[in-house]
């Protein structure tokens, strides 16, 4: 695991923090249908995506 992967993980952490925090999160807080907010769907999707990216970084070419 080299420095590159570490910087990517750090950037991903900051990105995830930003996406999970209010100013950006408010963008997803709009009706989706049946009166439900899109917020939970958005959070679960971002969450899954962040985990997928981190898995790719961690398990990818750096496997030893």
């Amino acid at each position: 695991m080299r420095k590159r992967a570490e910087s990517r993980l750090l950037a991903l952490t900051i990105l995830a923090l930003l996406l999970f925090s209010p100013p950006l999160l408010l963008l997803f807080d709009r009706p989706l249908g049946l009166g439900f907010s899109a917020l939970p769907v958005a959070i679960y999707l971002i969450w899954a995506l962040v985990i997928l990216i981190s898995a790719l970084i961690l398990e990818g070419r750096h496997e030893d």
Binding site: M1, A5, E6, L9, L10, L12, T13, A16, L17, F20, S21, P22, L25, L26, D29, L34, G35, F36, S37, L39, P40, I43, Y44, W47, A48, V50, I51, S54, A55, L58, E59, H62, D64
Partner: protein
Amino acid sequence: MRIEGLVLTISFSYLALLFIIAAWGDRRAEQRRSLVNSPTIYALSIAVYCTAWTFYGSVGRAATTGLSYLLIYLGPTLAMLCGWMLIRKMIRIARAQRITSIADFISARYGKSGALGALVAAIAIVAIMPYIALQLKAITVSYGILTEYPRQTPPALSLTGFWNDKAFWVALVLAVFIILFGTRHLDASERHEGMVTAIAFESLVKLFAFVAVGVFATFVLYQGPADLFATAAQLLPEAAHHFGLEQIPGGALGWFGTLILAMLAFITLPRQFQVLVVENVNEEHLKRACWLFPFYLLLINLFVIPIALAGMLGGSTTGEPDNYVLTLPLSAGLNGLPMLVFIGGLSAATSMMIVETIALSTMVSNQLVMPLLLRWRALQLDQRRDLSGWLLGIRRVAIVFILILGYLYHALIGEAYSLVTIGLVSFAAAAQFAPALLLGLYWRGASRTGAACGMIAGILVWAWTLLIPGFALSGWLDTGFIEQGPFGIETLRPYALFGLEGWDIYTHALFWTMLVNIGLLVGISLFARPGHLEQTQAALFTNALKPEAEQAPIWQGQASRRELFGLLVRYLGQSSTTRLLGTERPDDETPATPQMIAAAEQGLTGALGSATARILINSVVRGEALDMSSILSILDTTSQTLEYNRRLEQKSTELARIGEELRSANERLRELDRLKDEFVAMVSHELRTPLTSIRAFAEILRDSDDLDREQQTHFLAIIVRESERLSRLIEEILDLARLESGRMTLHPEHCDLQELLSRALEAVTHLFQERGISHELKLTASPCPVIADPDRLQQVLINLLDNASKFADENEGQVLATVAPYKRGFRVTVEDNGSGIVEQEREKVFEKFHQIEQARSLEEKGGSHQRPRGTGLGLPISRGIVNQLGGRLWIDRSERLGGACLVLELPRAPEETTDVD
């Protein structure tokens, strides 16, 4: 009662299964086929984070405060994303220093301070005890609902009927489990493999149980999520607006505060430190855990909203939101699924209690009890021969004590507190370790006093803003001070400190506690003067991931082997001491090696914590037991930097030198270029002068027929002489060109230097007479054999004599030529009585262009009425030839005549051929 018996049988069978799994894990570890040596098991064991609070409380939170339940899991996700950097550093430090708990970690970071460790341990107990009580309460409540459904009144808790409370018996079984699998080894830094295997298994059970309820609610009770959401929108229109951001307590700010709180607590909760750091087998396992654990969290949260909605739709049949997970399948009339849910909740509760109790008991015994007992002189512990039994005993008593305390807490005040409140209050207390821990990992300047003051102030503010108001709201105190402030001081209202209103209580508490905690830590650290040990520990912690941070144990101080051995045996027992020191009991007084002392300290640290180990080692090691290894590693880093600097400096001096050389070379090239131009001009001038006269006289001869014969002859003679001069000049230029390009070919043979000199003198005799110069020749008696090209050498000698005649005094010129043997060769000197050449000019004379310049300048001075004194190429050519013959040519001051003295030195020819020629 039939169902009660069944539930009891199944739950205690489940606990028995845990014993079997743990025993199996320990067996495998003993056989060196470890089960826990797998990143997946490691990731599952981290899922101990999901307690009964997750299992039952998430749905409750979702039903009451919307999405805020997610924050408790998004925080750890963020922490794990950068876990490869942060947690790996903690693992590496803990391994190197044999650290066994977060209290030990913080104490070791700040100079192995016993007081700081005790402080952390005390805070942890205060903060975590309600959390353990919460797990017991979840067991009691879920058992009650399972057996009494549809009656949902929570069972009355009281101490008098504790034998009827199943949670008491569960706690008792757990105490046995933890004592069996948690205190097998004296060394707390050794892994509890059986326990970790059981925890990982429990993580799977609770995940399976929760997902099963989720699938049941979504796909059995309703026809998939679309149907569920449509029904919810139709029957409960207000529920549709339930999952927006405005439902979160404190709104956007509350959201962010809780997110940070969960992130910090995930790292600092004692049980998380235990599974993340202490139980880690291989730091490479982090790679998988860093994404697999967040994935686990995602899975266990996937069905929270569907279950919450289905529960809300259930109305009175599902009762309290905190119980939806259990009441939902019960209300559908199922038997098996509720049992599975109960077991899932039980596994979530027990796994948390097991790990937390081990972590806390290690802290209690190592940071609180042992240091006290060792200082308690009346016990005379220092005179006992074997203390290892004591250590294990203390830890076991601590386990029972913690569980009983947890049970008492649950029985006495459990009814007053709701599940969620306890969880977040505990989080906020654990988060008080975060500044000391995280800043300590990255900032070398963080000091012990700062950390202690920050934590004390932080926990006091925590108590005021969360704990005491919580007690008050539970009906223990008068709630007046919450509204009006203590003694009517409004600025001190616990939920609106200094008038900070409109925040949710957790973000409010987090803000104020972190403000004083970080503020004091940083502020005091900036003015603190840390001791040596504190500085070295700070350096070791902050540089842990750098390769040069390897520790080589070097100790200053002495201890005899017998004393050291005795100390270890008292605390660790005979067998592990022999293993640690690698020797049988020595009776001699020979000094222990530094490695032995270091190993002894590490062994004691594993069993007793770093602060106590340091005190004990200092009791037998005489002299300063300073951690020289750390000092050396710091020195090493510094010296590496210095070395770098030195090399850079060297490089830059070198560069400067090369630059200087280049500049001077450039200057010289310019000078040469200028001289070359002058040379070309001079040569052209030199060539033109004879050519002009040749042409002039030839034209006179052509145009005037009336010239007399004598005049014609005179003119022709001039033409011939000038032509000769011209060809000599061209010859010299050619010679020079050949010499410079190295194409001059010499034909060396044996010859006599004396003979050549006399012949050369003969050749110039008439020239000398013409110029009125007297000359003298001094020869040696024997011949002077050299190897040379005779023609060329003669040319050189003639040139020297010619030069001497030119520069000799104009009126009474004198030239002296000598030849004499000198060392291994011969020297020819040609001296004149002219003005001589100043020392600085002597070498320049041999520069081909310089001579011309000098010649011209002499000419310009009018110092000579004659033609220019030659081309000025003679001396450079001569030196070139002499060098090629292996000799030297230079100018000196004439001792006898006072003018210039040209010295020519040639090596003697080899012996056997001296007779030739």
